[in-house]
């Protein structure tokens, strides 16, 4: 009884909040470009007073956003190389798992927030294209060409992926990489803030945020925005570094994180401090259960989480119903 009352209250709160935010975002911008307008940023003065964490340090919220921006501006060039070095290439497997769990179908629209260098979006497009080709091969017996019906079906089932990131340097690197790989159609690159997305309500089938949400200053706001831009029935998926439960693995992981990763940052990217921030920010992120609670508070249903690599990474998933 209490649980259903809680759900009802949450739903009401969500509905009223949605009215407010959709009015605000309707006023601010509908184009692909997102600049903070005065109407949408009435909280900016309060942000100077509220404090949050930047790694193990305490800073004001406004300060955190600036410092995080600087970190990613500095690391953008060597971002992919460092990911491979730090995770010994395992980050590719984590992202592959995300896609397999997602199992997107042709025609799906993806929004990849904090998408940076575009790893998820590119994988998504490859996945749906592969699915489409499999379907076509199954449906069309060999020897026959595609009919008029097939071609119009294809148009309707054309998937698209939008990569949204607050950092222009990261988007630049991502676009260059995608161009090099020849992945161009169906992919767009948008500058935007996860706490205030430049998109209308009910736009996307899938919202992903991979290794980005811990850098967002107000995670609750980012979750609410995610809920807003998803279509009803849409899925929210989050990959993030989380808590390792096994004590032996945890000790090894901590030692590796604090002893080796900043050194790798210094040697490969010439930047110790950014990678020190990275390992500290991982420790400040809520654990699997806490983040599940945050998602439920924002209004997501059927929230689940899977641990990868012993809890080093957690995959959280929830639906907008």
């Amino acid at each position: 009884m209490a649980a259903s009352m809680r759900l009802l209250v949450r739903q009401l709160a969500r509905l009223s909040h949605r009215k407010v935010t959709s009015t605000v975002s309707g006023v601010s911008c509908r184009s692909a470009c997102c600049w903070r307008t005065s109407s949408g940023r009435c909280f900016s003065d309060a942000a100077e007073d509220r404090s949050t964490h930047f790694g193990f340090e305490t800073v004001s919220e406004a300060e955190k956003a600036k410092r995080v921006y600087k970190v990613f501006e500095n690391v953008a060039q060597k971002y992919d190389v460092m990911n491979d070095a730090m995770s010994l290439g395992i980050h590719r497997l984590w992202k592959d798992v995300l896609l397999h769990v997602m199992h997107p179908q042709p025609g799906a629209r993806l929004l990849d927030v904090a998408g940076g260098t575009g790893d998820i979006a590119v994988r998504f497009l490859d996945y749906v294209r592969y699915q489409l080709e499999r379907q076509k091969r199954r449906d069309t017996p060999s020897g026959q060409g595609s009919s008029w019906q097939d071609i119009s079906d294809d148009r309707r089932r054309e998937s698209s992926a939008v990569v949204c990131d607050i950092n222009k340097e990261m988007l630049k690197m991502g676009k260059q990489k995608a161009d090099r790989m020849g992945v161009v159609s169906g992919l767009s690159w948008v500058v935007g803030d996860a706490e205030e997305l430049p998109f209308d309500d009910d736009q996307f089938d899938i919202y992903t945020i991979a290794f980005g949400i811990r850098n967002v200053t107000r995670m609750d706001q980012a979750l609410q925005e995610a809920l807003r831009v998803l279509k009803p029935g849409g899925r929210f998926m989050c990959l993030e570094f989380s808590k390792v439960t096994n004590p032996v693995l945890a000790r090894l992981y901590d030692a590796y994180s604090f002893q080796v990763i900043p050194v790798l940052g210094e040697v490969i990217a010439g930047d110790w401090k950014s990678y020190q921030y990275l390992v500290e920010s991982i420790r400040k992120f809520p654990n699997q259960q806490e983040f599940k609670g945050m998602m439920e508070d924002a209004g997501f249903y059927c929230v689940q989480h899977h641990d990868l690599t012993g809890g080093v990474v957690a995959l959280h998933s929830g639906f907008k119903l």
Binding site: K70, Q259, P262, V267, E280
Partner: protein, 256 residues
């Protein structure tokens, strides 16, 4: 600027295990011995692959040079002029140099020749990496001074900033200071030279650099900032440095 804002919020926090803002001096990053070892290996590998990663050469020097830095600091203390350098802590920066005055000095003076070196090789004294991994404030200054004096060594030795010139200066510095990073650079640098330059190194430049390195006065003990108007020849004689066997000034600079 943002680092300054952090400090204001942050004073009084001395108890953090991973204090990465201001250890003993601005830019100091506290590291465990394991991290220093890892840094030494990593920076060595990268510096070898890409000698133009000056930050890696710097890190290699800092993580391997502790004992030698102590030795250098003691030599400076025992020299009256060196002691003055240690107490007054001069820094060679564009902001502290009076470039106009130096340009007006006569040819052949130390200051004029140093300026000529900076212009010819298109370098500035501000491009030195800051010291990060030395865990003693005075030794960090000695390291910084060594880096700043490196360009002056080029002038004093008459060496250009191409690979051959750099290796020659490294041989001199290795003989002078004994810093492992210099020795390593001296040993491995020649691997990147072509045969003609290798020949020049081993037959004339190398032995000259080593000889001068051993017999010269400690180059870190000189208060260079007060000697701009001194004649280069006279300064060389005072430091017991012989002029180079090959004159590079007339040749076209190959650029970095």
């Amino acid at each position: 600027m943002s680092t300054l804002c952090v400090h204001r919020l942050h004073t009084g926090r001395a108890d953090r295990t991973f204090s990465h803002y201001d250890g003993l001096y601005p830019g100091h990053i506290i590291t465990t011995p394991f991290q220093k070892a890892l840094l030494a290996v990593g920076s060595g590998v990268v510096a070898l692959q890409d000698p133009y990663r000056h930050d890696m050469v710097a890190v290699l020097g800092e993580t391997t040079g502790h004992l030698v830095l102590i030795n250098l600091r003691d030599r400076m203390r025992n020299d009256p002029e060196g002691y003055t350098v240690l107490t007054e802590r001069p820094k060679i920066r564009l902001s502290t140099l009076d470039l106009e005055k130096m340009a007006s000095l006569p040819d052949g003076s130390f200051g004029r020749e140093y300026l000529r070196f900076l212009e010819d090789n298109e370098v500035t004294p501000d491009s030195r990496a800051e010291v990060k991994f030395v865990d003693d404030e005075e030794l960090a200054y000695v390291m910084l001074r060594y880096r700043e004096v490196h360009d002056l060594m080029h002038t004093l030795l008459g060496m250009p900033t191409n690979m051959l010139g750099e290796v020659a200066v490294k041989w001199f510095e290795a003989a002078q200071t004994g810093l492992p990073m210099c020795a390593l650079g001296a040993l491995l640098g020649p691997l990147r030279l072509n045969t003609r330059r290798l020949q020049s190194l081993f037959t004339s430049l190398g032995p000259w650099a080593l000889q001068n390195g051993w017999q010269a006065r400690c180059v870190l003990s000189i208060f260079y900032e007060r000697r701009w108007d001194q004649s280069l020849e006279e300064l060389r004689r005072e430091l017991k440095i012989q002029p180079p066997p090959v004159d590079f000034t007339k040749r076209r600079k190959n650029g970095r």
